[in-house]
Assembly symmetry: C2
Homo-oligomer: 351 residues x 2
């Protein structure tokens, strides 16, 4: 038994018990001080804090998680093939926002990719094991089974964007409708008459809303909406090229293009240039996302900016609320749990 008593497997780190002995109090009292309980006298608290400092005590997370049945960790789940995700600043900005908000808490962040089937299976294991207290879901498609899995496991989750107009999960979205409208209003104000729209994937709700905004702006300005001017790309550069060629074939007289992403705008620019159209002289071009590509394009691309960092921050705040208020979910409405943040136009030389 001496063997057991002496093994000290945790690398000699002090335990609660040792802190308690040092401070001359009981284990429970130290626990109370560590966890900020008010039911401790000032003198005792000071003594414990001194002992903690002297010993360099740091709580053992695993023991705490086991005893309290929580993990103090949340996951940011990216259900995309990672490639697309990193191509745009969307992800990094969001991560920055989350990170900033996170640093005000004791939570830690796990980054989980769930692009491949294999990664999906791993994720399901993680969640089933309740290794996180909550989940941030980024860029989820309408038919993704993940939200259902989360609901079934009763794991709090917040989604970025909405899957449809009647999203059921707590969510943080940006004003895609407004973004589309701003872009088109701007082009109209510049005197453009024939404005095309390179839409994103229409099964993405946000992309759909941008189209709605495009149409609304045209109508409000008294322009008629020619549906041939709306061609769906798939958010990629190649998709942008393809759609732009189609557009040019159908309406060679167009004098402005609003693309649903900067990457698609980059594809469109190539095609326009090859067709001998000057930007912005012959055709004005507006992108979406305000990414690095927009700033470095030639000419620099006018683009619609979403406050992605703020969205990340807001998502974390919402999630923390979800985790904290574990009352029966039905007792609260969705009103306060769905945010829509504003978008803005960043004008550059392409329009």
């Amino acid at each position: 038994m001496a063997v057991h008593g002496a093994r000290s497997r945790s690398g000699g780190r002090p335990t609660l018990e040792e802190v308690a002995a040092r401070a001359g109090v009981g284990r429970g009292t130290v626990s109370r001080v560590i966890n900020g309980s008010p039911r401790v006298s000032d003198a005792t608290r000071a003594a414990v804090e001194a002992a903690v400092a002297e010993l360099g005590y740091v709580p053992n997370t695993a023991a705490r998680a086991l005893a309290a049945n929580r993990t103090d960790a949340i996951a940011l789940v990216v259900p995309e093939p990672e490639t697309r995700f990193f191509a745009e600043p969307y992800f990094s900005d969001m991560l920055r926002g989350v990170g900033a908000a996170l640093s005000e808490t004791e939570m830690q962040l796990l980054l989980i990719f769930a692009g491949s089937d294999r990664e999906r299976a791993r994720l399901a294991q993680y969640l089933a094991a309740h290794r996180v207290d909550g989940v941030l879901l980024v860029s989820v498609h309408a038919d993704d089974p993940l939200p259902d899995l989360l609901a079934q496991l009763e794991i709090p989750a917040v989604i970025s964007g909405r899957r449809s107009a009647d999203e059921t999960l707590p969510s943080v979205d940006s004003d895609n409708f407004g973004g589309g409208r701003f872009a088109v209003e701007h082009l109209i104000a510049q005197g453009r008459r024939t404005i095309a729209h390179l839409a994103g994937r229409l099964d993405v709700f946000g992309a759909q809303r941008r189209v709605d905004g495009y149409r609304a702006a045209l109508r409000e300005a008294g322009h008629e909406v020619d549906e041939r001017l709306v061609v769906a790309g798939d958010f990629t550069e190649e998709g942008g090229r393809r759609a732009m060629k189609e557009l040019l074939a159908v309406r060679p007289d167009l004098d402005a293009v609003f693309a649903g992403s900067d990457v698609m705008a980059a594809g469109a620019r190539q095609v326009l240039r090859e067709a001998g159209r000057r930007i912005p002289d012959d055709v004005a071009l507006v992108g979406y996302d305000d990414s690095a590509i927009a700033r470095h394009m030639d000419p620099p691309l006018t683009s619609v900016r979403q406050p992605i960092e703020d969205m990340g921050r807001a998502m974390l705040d919402l999630l923390m609320d979800e985790i904290a208020d574990r009352r029966p979910a039905a007792s609260r409405g969705l009103e306060r749990r769905q945010l829509v943040l504003p978008t803005e136009l960043v004008a550059r030389q392409s329009s």
Copy 2:
């Protein structure tokens, strides 16, 4: 005591004990099966596996961590203000490599930013609490105290790049010397005579090595090295502009520029264009990193590519080895623990 017996705080998830009862074996045997011990008969193993499947058993990570004193988690620590990091594809590619390698293990990945002092303090807490089994260090400066802290806490770590020629940590680097040399050899092959170098921060070892490669290529080709042609930037666009102006003032006859990063090349391009130099006709331009910016620049930028994804993968492999082989560190040499991966030139229209 009925109260305690019935509380089932883990949300009704099955425990090892329950699996054991179901399979008609002891706790230890189930543990052996779960952990892949060979000391279990085939029949028993099958019975346990059946019970695991029927019950949907998933091990409790916290309990395992507590009992075994390991966490099955590693951290990717980014000691940079996040901003710079995401601006380049470096980070995302590395993360992709790490992620790919990770999916072959049971480990989970924590992403930790340690840019601000506040974040640093948090990180120190994490590490002191041994919340991870190992650390991947990305983009560490020569004078960073982090590696020492890690060594002191005896936490395995692998670093990307080297802090100096005699790096002590296990590391994965790319061939910066070769990269610099390829760029300059390429320019010489194109018939360029006066080749300038926009260097990065010279306190970054990799940037220094690129300069060495630049000099070596010139010498090997019998060119003389004019030190006025080497100006240090700071990896930023603004730094690129500043350095390019300086270069143009000192040697207006230059006909090629090798920039230590694509972002600096973008800055240089602006200045060159303002000075009326055509690219590549008057001045050839080569960047470094082969980032998205390179592909979208006008004209598309020739750039040196590092196999960053492979580096990420290699870093994880090394780290797993470090975690596994916990023999006295002195018993192994550094030879097998420092990798240098090749770089290659991606030629485009700017040269």
